[in-house]
């Protein structure tokens, strides 16, 4: 059963995961759900399919290895947990046990970015850099909670591994009305049209980028927002198109290290394709251990909050558009 929600409401991405998996468990008798003791929101699946649910306790490495063993035998395992631990403590299992044989294991988890006030042990800030480096891995970062369900559903037919990054997933803003966008893994979503500049973002900061675009609209600025929820494979066509259509003015905003995440993915496309930009603003986490505080406070403190996003976009727009600059 799909979850009922309405556009603009808050919804828990975690409960969407639980509901979606329980729904898919019915149609896929080879779907397994595994967790290293982070299973609170998976109870629906656990109660419906107890023999396909495995809580290994605090053992991320074994959790991913066991998932790979299940996948070798034709199953579709979903590992759900906290990303700072899954992406680093089990990184080698993800790389050598899952990606090397290209097994359909899904890694899905929370705490991507400076979220949850857990401190630096509990913030996954380098996870996307790590995951994007892995051959065969598809990497996503999802902000809209309802979209999480769609991504999981689409992943059922994927042959290889998938990484799904969420923020905290307890209370997330529904960004898109049902059917508003064609959601396809590998394709960016133009969340808002605009012509003066493009803000590329993913996950929890999509909402912030939309707020920044609203703010700038008050001055008559037309800012495009792209929800680049798939970081790998990256939608290079859309990047090229945005360069054409928004005067080569790019702002990249992400709740991840400013170097190594989406900004780096986009910079690679720009370099490889010889795309001419007139502005490239990176907004993300600097090389610091970020400390404690509420999510928004931390973003402000570290230079990628709403005000910084608005300011960076203004700077970008102030740049003369190419080709006139050449």
């Amino acid at each position: 059963m799909p979850v009922t929600f309405t556009f603009g409401e808050m919804l828990s991405a975690r409960s969407v995961i639980g509901t979606t998996l329980a729904e898919l468990g019915e149609t896929h008798d080879n779907l397994w759900v595994l967790t290293p003791d982070i299973g609170a929101t998976l109870v629906e699946f656990r109660d419906k399919y107890p023999d396909r649910f495995l809580d290994v306790g605090l053992a991320e490495q074994a959790c991913v290895g066991i998932a790979a063993g299940l996948a070798y035998d034709g199953n579709i395992p979903v590992v759900s947990g906290m990303l700072p631990f899954l992406s680093m403590r089990a990184l080698e299992q993800i790389r050598s046990d899952v990606c090397y044989p290209n097994l359909p294991v899904k890694i899905i988890g929370t705490h991507g970015g400076l979220v949850g006030n857990g401190g630096s042990t509990h913030y996954a800030v380098e996870d996307l850099a790590l995951m994007c480096a892995l051959t065969n891995m598809t990497v996503t970062s999802v902000g809209d909670p309802a979209m999480v369900g769609e991504v999981i559903r689409q992943s059922m037919t994927m042959a290889g591994p998938l990484y799904i990054r969420l923020a905290v997933g307890k209370k997330d803003k529904v960004l898109y009305a049902e059917g508003e966008h064609d959601i396809r893994i590998g394709k960016g979503i133009v969340a808002r049209q605009g012509t003066d500049a493009t803000i590329f973002t993913h996950g929890t900061t999509v909402a912030q980028a939309l707020d920044a675009a609203d703010e700038l609209a008050k001055d008559g600025r037309s800012v495009r927002v792209v929800d680049m929820f798939t970081l790998k494979p990256i939608d290079a066509e859309l990047i090229a198109q945005c360069a054409e259509e928004t005067h080569g003015r790019f702002v990249v905003l992400e709740d991840h290290l400013a170097y190594g995440g989406l900004a780096s993915r986009i910079a690679d496309v720009v370099a490889d394709r010889g795309i001419h930009l007139s502005a490239f603003e990176r907004l993300g986490i600097p090389q610091v251990y970020a400390g404690f505080g509420e999510d928004e406070q931390l973003r402000d403190k570290h230079g990628y909050g709403l005000a910084a996003t608005v300011a960076a976009t203004r700077r970008a727009i102030a740049q003369p558009a190419w080709p006139t600059s050449h």
Binding site: I66, A68, G69, A71, D73, P77, D97, P101
Partner: protein
């Protein structure tokens, strides 16, 4: 009930025949070690040669002509650096061509590399090499078999050194927690790591108690006594039992070649023509000594 009917009907070798095959396996290993110019993990290959022989020529229900049969036993080589010993043991069981292994081992585009890759070499059950990864994979396979009501066994071969990896014990705990009596671990207890002897820098003892403490049934055998290995395999509990079993095989790294035995230098290496001859002579002599 397990279903052995389709598997070893044409070939049920006696203990003496298995010993002959283990000797042949060691000879072929040394031959490869004298052919290939790079290093071969010959020490840990020789320590595990009897275990591989007992498994692939007696214990495992596998069919080289039907490598995807869902009822086959699964074998996961956690000590992936012994891949070449597995390739040759499997070639002697009809999976691969020994000549193909010797001719191409380690070369560009060969399926036979230092560590096994399931994608490049179908018939191998898992891609391994990084130590401590095999047992979690085997737990996943055993869970899958349980869930599907299949009666096959999942067998994982580990080196004792790699049981220093925490992931082994995470998996050991998961195996007991999920009552996986269809899972069997063989430990090649050769008491050597790459650069030190066991107990010298890492204290493993009381080793069997460590497994017992994790809720496993422990069987201890001389890993070079074919009769004991066969006996341990034949006495394994039914696959629907509720406790995983570990067979701790006391072995000697470099077994069969006197100058390699208990010698840290021979963790891995290559043999020049003269040393190959010397190794073959030592192997022949060791066999004579044992049969006397």
């Amino acid at each position: 009930m397990r279903d052995p009917a389709v598997w070893l009907t044409d070939d049920d070798p006696s203990v003496a025949e298995l010993e002959d095959r283990a000797y042949e396996l060691r000879s072929k290993l040394l031959h490869l070690c004298g052919t290939y110019e790079g290093a071969v993990h010959i020490g840990g290959d020789l320590s595990a040669a009897d275990i591989f022989t007992a498994l692939f020529h007696h214990g495992l229900n596998v069919d080289p002509h039907d490598i995807s049969n869902p009822r086959r036993d699964r074998f996961v080589l956690s000590k992936g650096h012994a891949a070449v010993c597995m390739y040759i043991a499997m070639s002697m069981r009809g999976f691969f061509s020994y000549d193909g292994i010797v001719d191409t081992y380690g070369q560009l585009d060969s399926a036979y590399g230092m560590h096994p890759c399931k994608v490049q070499l179908p018939g191998v059950e898992a891609s391994t090499g990084s130590l401590g990864h095999g047992l979690p994979l085997a737990v996943g396979m055993a869970l899958s078999a349980r869930h599907r009501g299949e009666q096959h066994r999942v067998v994982c071969l580990l080196g004792d050194g790699e049981t220093g990896e925490g992931s082994v014990w995470e998996a050991a705990m998961a195996a007991r927690s999920n009552e996986l009596g269809n899972l069997v671990a063989f430990v090649d207890r050769n008491r050597q790591l790459m650069t030190s002897f066991a107990e010298e820098r890492v204290v493993f003892e009381p080793y069997p108690d460590k497994w017992r403490a994790f809720g496993w049934d422990v069987v201890q055998v001389d890993g070079h006594d074919m009769g004991q290995l066969v006996g341990a395999i034949d006495a394994l509990p039914a696959t629907d039992s509720d406790r995983p079993t570990v067979v701790i095989c006391e072995t000697v790294k470099g077994k069969g070649v006197d100058f390699m035995e208990h010698n840290l230098a021979w963790h891995a290496g290559s043999l020049g023509a003269a040393d190959l001859e010397r190794a073959m002579a030592a192997l022949a002599a060791s066999r004579k000594k044992e049969t006397v």
